[in-house]
């Protein structure tokens, strides 16, 4: 199949044009360790490939480099018929600098370039227009003015593009090709003659920015938007998560109705529906988060948020764009690690991803709630004003954030940059504020859910099967006499210095599936059925059994720091591209958590 490739700078509306041309079906190819993503779909008899937005063909970061290498490979391939270069019609000069680079590259590989001046509706709204025939003459390539959003000029382009792709040689004017070294000057000349007055275009944007970046109002707006984001992942995702949980529960009942009593049923309901279910519950949360971040990015606010956060975070070796992943990490580390893709510097992105697991995610909440209820009486207050349980919750969140910043700070200070492409200075283009279009957003949301299932699903499946087998066999005497119980007794010496007996050891082992399993597992061991719904009953049993204050605080801090979630480890591995980093973090955070718990158990009486 002949191929048409789509290139353009970020924020030029390329994704929307891709969606408009290809319709519903698309495939996404990822490259491990980098944010590069190639989308492909069908347009007429051609394969349309959407390349990631790059600012230039002269690359600064490793991600850009891989994107450009892939582009060059595609240029060399025989079946690539046409290169469609999407330009922002409201920003002709900067778009053309890139466009002329693409044209030169295409010429070197004997390929035809077609220029699309996207967002022509905005140009016309400002009272300008662009003479595409004249511009095409000067550029030596076909030029189409259209708006992927309002559909102006789109049907003409859809008719013309296949014609060009069938006989690309006829749409090349070798004479008027522009030498790459003159690109800057030519771009300026062309935009002076054809482009839009910059002050008119930027007026609205600068006016909004005078509020959004204002020292007082901008700060308030920032806090408001971030609060909204935080709320959305906690509150609004909850009904969807409950719905998924309910559906899986119903499915489990329906399926096990056929299998009757016995091992098969136990396996299906506990390992398959229970294990996989506790993981699928996170899919809606990930999709809601992706939607909100997508809206922030497409509207142009994400760049402003990065600008506001950059300075304070730079002290810790992080980028302004690390803020949203950190915030998201309080819901779930997995979408947060995926959200780190928006960080342009690979080094800062790596530090962000490595420290996200320290944010207190929602799976830790039941663990915190249980242990705080055990350790602190409900009516205790701090200085007579603050509820001590609430203060303890806040302290645990803060402990995670501070640890993350310190870890990042040390990584920043004590690791060396291997090559200059691993870091990037903070140079940010502030895009125009725009109303996001639902189509690219929808694809992003769906893909985020699918990517999560594909990445974390297999490992969750195996862990859940192994834990089930160890906890189920041999089939007499309950959890205490199972293999898992035996392992718990065997490793008791490890947890003894922390003031914890084998039951906590078993619960900690089972937490590798998902941390909230800790509560259910302890419930079984302390003889409370359905402990998830009856935390106070379990808390009383643990109190009666006796858990030293130091050991309890140590256990809480252990849960803040230890990287126990296998799904997170799987996503870390995929997103960093290195199993070494993921495994290293499990060991390092495990040791750190152990040492902290050891200190707490022995120093606090």
């Amino acid at each position: 199949m002949k191929r048409i490739i789509l290139v353009g700078k970020p924020n030029c509306g390329k994704s929307l044009l891709f969606n408009q041309l290809t319709g519903l079906r698309q495939k996404v190819a990822n490259f491990p360790g980098v944010t590069v993503e190639l989308k492909s779909g069908q347009f007429k008899e051609f394969e349309l490939v959407d390349f990631p937005g790059t600012y230039s063909l002269h690359t600064l970061s490793k991600d850009e480099e891989i994107a450009v290498v892939k582009l060059k490979e595609a240029m060399q391939q025989e079946n690539t018929a046409v290169v469609v270069c999407v330009l922002d019609a409201t920003r002709m000069e900067r778009s053309l600098v890139f466009g002329l680079q693409v044209q030169a590259l295409a010429k070197a590989h004997d390929k035809t370039v077609v220029f699309v001046l996207n967002m022509i509706d905005e140009v016309r709204r400002y009272g300008f227009d662009i003479d595409t025939t004249q511009l095409a003459d000067e550029l030596g390539s076909p030029v189409f003015a259209l708006s992927a959003k309002t559909l102006i000029g789109l049907s003409e382009f859809q008719k013309a593009l296949p014609e060009i792709a069938r006989q690309p040689e006829q749409y090349r004017n070798e004479q008027s090709a522009i030498a790459p070294e003159n690109a800057l000057i030519v771009a300026r000349e062309l935009s002076k003659n054809h482009g839009v007055n910059a002050d008119v275009v930027l007026k609205k944007q600068n006016r909004i920015d005078s509020f959004m970046l204002n020292n007082v109002f901008g700060g308030v707006a920032f806090l408001f938007i971030m609060f909204f984001l935080f709320q959305s992942i906690f509150t609004w995702a909850t009904p969807l998560m409950d719905a998924v949980e309910f559906a899986i529960g119903e499915l489990a009942v329906w399926v096990t109705g056929f299998t009757g009593e016995g091992m098969t049923t136990d396996f299906l309901s506990d390992a398959i529906f229970g294990g996989i279910g506790s993981f699928l519950v996170f899919v809606p949360q990930i999709m809601v988060l992706t939607l909100i971040i997508g809206v922030l990015e497409d509207s142009g606010y994400l760049a402003r948020a990065a600008l506001i956060c950059h300075k304070p975070l730079s002290y810790f070796g992080l980028s302004g764009r690390s803020f949203i992943p950190y915030l998201s990490g309080h819901a779930c580390a997995i979408p947060a690690i995926m959200a780190a893709r928006t960080i342009e510097s690979p080094r800062k992105r790596l530090f962000t991803m490595m420290t996200i697991p320290l944010m207190s995610c929602s799976a830790r909440l039941p663990v915190y709630a249980l242990l705080i209820a055990v350790l602190i009486p409900a009516d205790a207050t701090l200085m007579g004003i603050f509820n001590l349980q609430g203060v303890a919750f806040f302290g645990l969140y803060l402990f995670g954030i501070v640890t993350a910043l310190l870890v990042s700070f040390f990584l920043h200070k004590f690791t060396h940059q291997h090559d200059e492409k691993s870091d990037m200075p903070f140079i940010l283009e502030l895009p125009t504020y725009r109303l996001p279009h639902w189509k690219p957003l929808m694809y992003r949301v769906v893909n985020s859910g699918l990517a999560f299932i594909k990445r974390a699903g297999p490992v969750i499946f195996w862990v859940s099967v192994v834990i089930w087998v160890l906890g189920y066999f041999p089939q007499h005497g309950g959890l205490e006499n199972s293999y898992l119980g035996k392992i718990g007794h065997f490793i008791e010496p490890i947890f003894e210095p922390l003031g914890l007996d084998w039951r906590y050891g078993v619960a900690i082992l089972m937490s590798f599936l998902a941390r909230e399993v800790f509560v259910g597992a302890l419930g079984t061991l302390f003889g409370i059925e359905g402990a998830d719904e009856n935390i106070s009953g379990l808390a009383e049993n643990i109190q009666a059994d006796g858990l030293a204050l130091g050991a309890g605080i140590g256990l809480l801090l252990f849960y803040v720091v230890a990287l126990q979630c296998v799904a997170t480890v799987a996503v870390l591995r995929a997103e960093t591209g290195k199993a070494r980093i993921a495994a290293g973090l499990v060991v390092a955070y495990g040791l750190l958590a152990y040492i902290i718990a050891l200190l707490a158990a022995n120093l606090i009486n």
């Binding site: 600012y55 600068n206 600008l307 506001i308 140079i427 940010l428 283009e429």
Partner: protein, 77 residues
């Protein structure tokens, strides 16, 4: 004088990019329009030495101190 020292709501003309700049970053800045003779207008400065915001041609950019300090200005106007 460098771009970092430009006060808010002031324009200036770019003189040159510092030789000390990483060549890849210098090339990127030129493509973004930071070329000798180009007018640049400072839209705002952030508190605590945070990134500054400038308008240049048809774009608005935000640069941190380490970068802005490497862009020399001809004269403020």
């Amino acid at each position: 004088m460098t771009l970092w020292e430009i006060p808010a709501k002031n324009s200036a003309q770019i003189d040159a990019l510092s030789q000390a700049l990483n060549p890849a970053v210098a090339a990127r800045l030129s493509e973004m329009g930071f070329t000798p003779g180009q007018d640049v207008y400072c839209l705002r400065r952030s508190p605590l030495q945070g990134p500054l915001v400038v308008q240049l041609g048809d774009c608005v950019y935000s640069l941190e101190r380490d970068v802005a300090n490497q862009i020399h200005l001809a004269h403020a106007s």
